[in-house]
Symmetry: C2
Subunit: 387 residues, 2 copies
């Protein structure tokens, strides 16, 4: 543990930067999360460079968003989530199809090859539920119909993203195997169904399960074991780790210790989540965007990303009225860390170059920054129609 | 964050292994911490190999022990610590001199060169206050006179360790610069005095400091910022990061939010500390110890480590009576992660070879495992003399 100085300093720097950003934005009456991301931009490689993207800071960011989604899962009732199932399905599917088609067509029209078009389209379809659910949580709106639709749609979205990413990776590698793509999707759906049905059944039969072990002074550590296990399993089969964490929270919420679990998880999540938001900001590469051409491309792709996701998700949710559909459409817009991961995979496979990578990361961060400020008003308007 | 699967799986494995060990030892009426370390031996490279020692797992272990010492600091009263100052000073100094002399003489008698003798002696002087303070905490004895002496002595111990390590590193590199050794020690002592005097003065003048920022819904995040900052600073000047974390806790305890801070830190520390204990176990290299000669060496060095530290610390604490001196002497015995770090530095500098490294790590883990089972009785006996 002798190399500790540097990494402790980086964690200190990002926490301070995120919290200064939080402080400033909160005093301005704006969403703190935007300040935490901007704090990451300032502390990160783009400006001060006291904080870097490496194995350790990536881990803290990953655990931050895993804990956030676990916490959201604990606070969500499965019953409520299933009630909005059909709408969430429509939002998830249309919210993938429209951005995918938009991204694909735009890349083809601009003369990009098939692999580039596939990765750009994949990056445009990704939704980062971490950002929206954090804002919904802060505003006490996770429990609203719109909030539940967004959560449900994010799960559907991620299953479809597996399919698109495996096709894109196949195209970049020179060949797509339909059977392996299909089996990935089947495994992902099976995982979700088995965890939700099996997990809730086990805990409903034995509600004290989380505090039965002698080592469990409270439900926290058994909960963390379930969270890490399901997050790892989800990541292993190609889903986002946060989907596993969310399902773990959903299942753990069936325990008799739900309230104690919420109370114990809250400080752990509060400690970790700033590392996630700061990490997103630290991805921004200002040097890579320092040309008129790159800025033009960034503006075009960002507008396409916002418009296509909003339209797709809006259409999926339109049955619930314009106000609810506006909230859902806007809530699905942030690409956050998911868009950045997809762009990174495209860069690694050679399908997209460093310039496009910087642009896609910029798009992911901008879509993430523009959403929180408008959400409070959309939530109030949507709540007006009753629930 | 695409490489997440593997590291999530490793964190899951070590948490499960540590908690199974905890469960078994607690059911046997033994200290859980021993089970968590043994869980790390089983999950780690020595047996199952599902958990490895890498940048990410090291970070979680480091943050685990940093949080543990921060928590201990918050629960310690500076006033009480200063009251046992003279005894702690004697324990710290004698608890370093006797093991150092023992280790140095043993290495010289066995025909080792000066650099080997210096590093072996340095590894024997190291004290891991993390282990003892965890057991004292579990038993509610942090607040006892013996507990405070151990904490105070550990700080003195670490200042002396800087001096010894810098001399040892100098010897291995071919030359010792007395001026630079002296300046390291002066800086370390200054750091401790400035943090304690300055920090407590600031917080006593403004007791609400930790919750003054708008971002602070409670004292946790400001406390974590102070903890990470002082841990990084301590590590930067050559002290152990945990000394900085302990001082941060000591200072933060002067806040009006002390109780709220304790309540918020508890779940975060509970989540992290198993990664620290498991990590210690995972260092064990059974293959490197699989010979009669290595086992003989291990037995000899371990006995020397236990006897020399016990005798030195016992003599330092004898003014408080035999029972208190026995508790303090025994409580100083664990070498834990500090002994492992020193051995690692010796290995890196070429002063000790891979075989001696395995033996020293084995000694560090054994001294750590033998202490907790005897502490409860020593604490009861010592408490008998009143406080």
């Amino acid at each position: 543990m002798d190399g500790a100085t540097d990494i402790l300093l980086q964690l200190f720097a990002i926490l301070v930067a995120a919290k200064i950003g939080h402080e400033v934005l909160r005093r301005l009456g704006q969403p703190p999360i935007v300040g935490e991301i901007l704090g990451g931009v300032v502390a990160g490689p783009a400006v001060l460079g006291v904080y870097g993207v490496n194995a350790e800071t990536t881990l803290f960011a990953e655990i931050g968003v895993v804990l956030l989604l676990f916490q959201v899962g604990v606070e969500t009732r499965l019953h409520d989530l299933l009630r909005v199932g059909p709408t969430a399905l429509a939002v998830g599917v249309l919210g993938v199809i429209v951005p995918f088609a938009g991204g694909f067509l735009a890349a083809e029209l601009a003369g990009g090859d098939l692999a580039l078009a596939m990765f750009l389209a994949a990056a445009l379809t990704a939704t980062s539920v971490g950002i929206t659910s954090n804002v919904l949580r802060d505003l006490g709106a996770l429990d609203s119909r719109g909030g539940r639709i967004i959560l449900g749609a994010a799960i559907i979205d991620d299953v479809l993203a597996i399919m698109i990413l495996s096709v894109a990776t196949g195209v970049a590698a020179g060949g797509v195997d339909p059977a392996s793509v299909a089996s990935l999707v089947v495994v992902a759906v099976l995982f979700i169904v088995v965890v939700v049905v099996g997990g809730t059944r086990i805990l409903r039969r034995r509600r004290s399960l989380l505090t039965d072990p002698v080592f469990a002074d409270g439900p926290l550590l058994p909960g963390m074991i379930v969270m890490l296990g399901l997050a790892a399993l989800a990541a292993a089969i190609g889903l986002a780790a946060i989907i596993g964490a969310f399902l773990a929270g959903l299942v753990a919420a069936e325990s008799s210790e739900r309230d104690a679990l919420q109370a114990e998880v809250a400080p752990v999540a509060a400690f970790f989540t700033p590392f996630f938001f700061g990490f997103i900001g630290a991805q921004v590469d200002l040097a890579g965007l320092a040309s008129v051409e790159a800025l033009g491309l960034l503006a075009g792709i960002t507008l396409l990303a916002i418009a296509s996701k909003f339209i797709g998700a809006f259409l999926g949710a339109i049955r619930g009225g314009v106000r609810e559909a506006s909230l859902v459409g806007w809530g699905m817009v942030p690409r956050g860390e998911v868009g950045i991961v997809v762009a990174g995979l495209g860069l690694a496979s050679g399908a997209i170059d460093a310039r496009i990578y910087s642009v896609v990361v910029g798009m992911a961060v901008i879509t993430t920054l523009v959403v929180p400020p408008l959400l409070p008003r959309l939530i109030r308007q949507s709540a007006g129609r009753g629930d």
